[in-house]
């Protein structure tokens, strides 16, 4: 038998060190485990502070003993390589393991063991743990805000329909693939708006927007038979003409009467709330801020100096102020800028404000992508005789946007995380509803449960988004 040198373990007495080290390490974990789960104190016979640090010392010696390079035992090598490379790492690993063991029991007991899951009043929650009955009772409100209970199916149906229509892109056959961009950029937002307006809000059947839709549909159908040469002018002039004709000539009297008919009960936007409002606001802001940001970024890189400086001023202004002041502006300052009889709905103002705000950030992200493209791409496109728009649509933007997927995803994530700020104008999405529920005299003292619940919800949404953007990034990654 070789001489044992405790201070520098080597391969010669591998198994002696191994057994000794593993048993010391396990002992230290056992001590902490028993202490934290069963509040048994094995080390109480040792005085004072020493007993507090004993598991750490034992574990440290144990890890020191099994730190043998190239031992030939796979399991041991993995441990050594990953958590036990040197003394400092061993100490940190031990601390983290102990912290996990220590914090598990209180967390478990708060979340599950001592928590109350049933009941519909405060009295049901007597345990020391969380009161999930509170979340259960208020779940409806957290999801839908003050939206009348009987009408909530409208929100559900709209969301399911929109999710379904949004997923169409995955199932489209090759034949329709080329129209997908058009669909997502133009048609889908319009459908979404119609759903929100008619279904969730319960607006009147005919309003200005529907004339526009009819005009657009008619002109598109007729447009197929128009020679390409005139198409450009046709699509500008005809829809406007049809719109004016429809509104002021043909159906003027009838539609005023019709316009007062509502299919569903009107629910004002002040009553919307909860998670559904979070979705609505982020959805529309997402849709609006992207094109605005795109144009701003193009404007900032334009040769036309007036457009360039207006874009720079616009971007830098929005990027320089906090969102909360923008919302303040939209709620107290903006009404001053409108004619007395003109009224824009609170929700619409908020969506416009957030969209403009995020558009400035999107613009900067896209500018990064545009700048990253080599000059040769521009020159090549120009040498093929492409004009400004053709060059950007077919050559520059597809490459630039691909480069900035992570950046855009981050901006969109920031947007979703910014939606709770709309409490400033009095709209209560999920966090706002939590604060309202917290002050309900029958349910005082459950702030923690509410915030934990909302945190989990937001975490799931944002984490899923970031993972999705990562997948997208990998999918469109091309070697340059």
């Amino acid at each position: 038998m070789n001489k044992l040198n405790i201070l520098s373990p080597d391969k010669k007495n591998l198994y002696t060190y191994l057994y000794l080290g593993i048993s010391l390490f396990s002992l230290s974990i056992l001590i902490v485990f028993l202490n934290s789960f069963f509040s048994l104190d094995l080390t109480s016979f040792i005085p004072g502070t020493l007993s507090y640090f004993l598991p750490l010392i034992i574990g440290f010696i144990g890890l020191h003993l099994i730190r043998i390079e190239y031992s030939g035992i796979k399991f041991l090598d993995i441990i050594n390589k990953n958590i036990n490379t040197n003394k400092f790492n061993a100490l940190l690993s031990l601390l983290i393991i102990f912290a996990i063991i220590k914090s598990l029991p209180p967390l478990l007991s708060w979340f599950i063991i001592d928590a109350n899951f049933v009941g519909d009043s405060k009295d049901a929650c007597s345990g020391s743990g969380a009161c999930w009955a509170y979340i259960k009772t208020w779940f409806n409100r957290f999801m839908y805000g003050m939206y009348p209970n009987a009408e909530q199916w409208r929100i559900n149906i709209s969301f399911i329909a929109l999710a379904f229509l949004g997923g169409v892109g995955f199932f489209a056959s090759e034949k329709f693939k080329k129209y997908l961009t058009l669909y997502y950029v133009v048609v889908y937002p319009v459908i979404a708006f119609l759903f929100i307006f008619f279904f969730i809000s319960g607006g009147p059947i005919f309003f200005d927007f529907s004339y526009g839709i009819i005009a657009a549909v008619i002109s598109i159908i007729v447009g197929f038979y128009i020679p390409t040469k005139f198409k450009m002018y046709y699509f500008i002039i005809i829809p406007i003409t049809i719109y004016i004709l429809l509104k002021y000539v043909f159906f003027y009297e009838e539609l005023i009467e019709l316009g007062k008919i509502q299919a569903f009960e009107w629910v004002e936007t002040g009553a919307w709330g909860g998670l559904s409002l979070t979705f609505i606001v982020s959805f529309f802001c997402l849709i609006f801020c992207f094109p605005v940001g795109l144009f701003l970024s193009l404007g900032r890189r334009s040769d036309l100096s007036i457009i360039k400086y207006i874009s720079i001023g616009f971007i830098e202004f929005w990027r320089g102020v906090p969102l909360i002041t923008v919302l303040f502006m939209s709620s107290v300052m903006f009404p001053m800028f409108l004619p007395e009889d003109m009224f824009i709905d609170k929700l619409v103002r908020v969506i416009i404000a957030i969209s403009l705000f995020e558009a400035a950030y999107v613009a900067e992200v896209i500018r990064g992508g545009l700048q990253a493209l080599p000059r040769g791409q521009y020159d090549a496109a120009k040498s093929l005789g492409m004009g400004y728009w053709k060059m950007h649509i077919f050559v520059i933007l597809p490459q630039a946007l691909k480069l900035v997927i992570p950046g855009i995803a981050n901006t969109f994530l920031a947007l979703v995380k910014d939606t709770p700020l709309i409490f400033v104008v009095g709209l209560l999405e999920i966090v706002g509803m939590l604060n309202l529920a917290k002050t309900n005299p029958e349910w005082l003292g459950f702030a923690m449960e509410g915030y934990v619940f909302a945190s989990i919800v937001f975490f799931i949404i944002c984490y899923a988004m970031s993972k999705y953007s990562y997948n997208l990034e990998q999918k469109y990654k091309t070697e340059r």
């Binding site: 390589k81 990953n82 958590i83 490379t85 790492n89 940190l92 690993s93 983290i96 393991i97 040769d303 036309l304 100096s305 007036i306 457009i307 207006i310 830098e316 202004f317 990027r319 320089g320 102020v321 906090p322 969102l323 909360i324 002041t325 303040f328 502006m329 107290v332 300052m333 001053m336 800028f337 409108l338 004619p339 007395e340 994530l413 979703v416 995380k417 910014d418 939606t419 709770p420 700020l421 409490f423 400033v424 966090v431 939590l434 604060n435 917290k438 702030a447 923690m448 915030y451 934990v452 909302a454 945190s455 937001f458 975490f459 944002c462 984490y463 970031s466």
Partner: protein, 381 residues
Amino acid sequence: MNFKKLLPQLLTLVVVILVFGFFSYNAQVNMENRGITFGYGFLSQESSFDVQFSLIEYDGSHSYFRAYLVGLLNTILVSVIGIIFATIIGVIVGIARLSNNYLIERTAAIYVEFFRNIPLLLQIFFWYFAALRALPLPEKAEPMFGVFFLTIKGFFVPAFVWNNLDIFIYSVIAAIIAIFFVRIYAKKKQENQGIQTPVLLISIGLLIILPLVSFLLGGVDASIQIPVIEQLSKTSFTYKGGLKLPPELISLALALSLYTATFIAECVRAGVQGVSKGQKEAAASIGLTPNQVLKLVVMPQALRIIIPPTTNQYLNLTKNSSLAAAIAYPDLVLVFAGTALMQTGRAIEIVSITMLTYLTLSITISIFMNWYNKKIAIKEK
């Protein structure tokens, strides 16, 4: 002039002017109807409202301008605290993310993923309404180290009472200037003779010795005032003496630094990873010690990648500090755009001042950063 280039510019200009004209015309009409005249004269009027927490002397008899200053200082205070802590946590977590220890790397990763995927406002609410509300009442608070009291009413810490504070400050400034000269001297010496001077040790020594001298010779004298519990009424207690950090400030600073630290950690990680392995190997192969490799080769290159996005995060933190309004921490938005606006009804003036303040703050910092960026950028030939 090319007509094709001129037309879009003119059109844009006309649209912008029209929109602005429309807005300002309406604003004029609206203000006339309400009988308000546009102007900033109200800033010198008596404000007649109180602010709970202020760094400068302030009460209702002071002017609105003073209230603005109070709010601005509070914003700067919480931003500076947040920036300091966010940097410390962010750098530690960022380095931990690069650790070869699986447990450390995972812990850091979980922290980053968790804290940056939850809205900041929610985190502020969590700390303020849930976590800090679980703290004990002043009369039941256990002292930490005998002198700190963490209670539901705030964090009470001992305060320093200084005599001849100015001499102490001069000594610190003198020490900093001396360190500056030592560094120049050390650099020169190394360039001329190739001999290295232990700058760090000398700096620490100077920082300790000069203030110590000021204590011994300059008549500087500091005593510590420990907070003592005091009974206000039968059931209400508080601490007297010492310094009180209100819970609003604590929860705001906590949430801001924990949230921003996740972003800074990612910046640090990207920066260190951005230094190619060849650089480290090259440095090691010419005989630099690991510490020198880090200090002279890795850090200068990593900092060049780290600093621009990190400044951006500092700016974000400063702007995010405006969320203070949600938990009634008297920052610029709450004091000025909240209370003062409510009292005077001057929406346009107050909102524009508030926005301009933030705009000035961010533009100043970004101009400074651009200058710094240019200075440290690699000069390619």
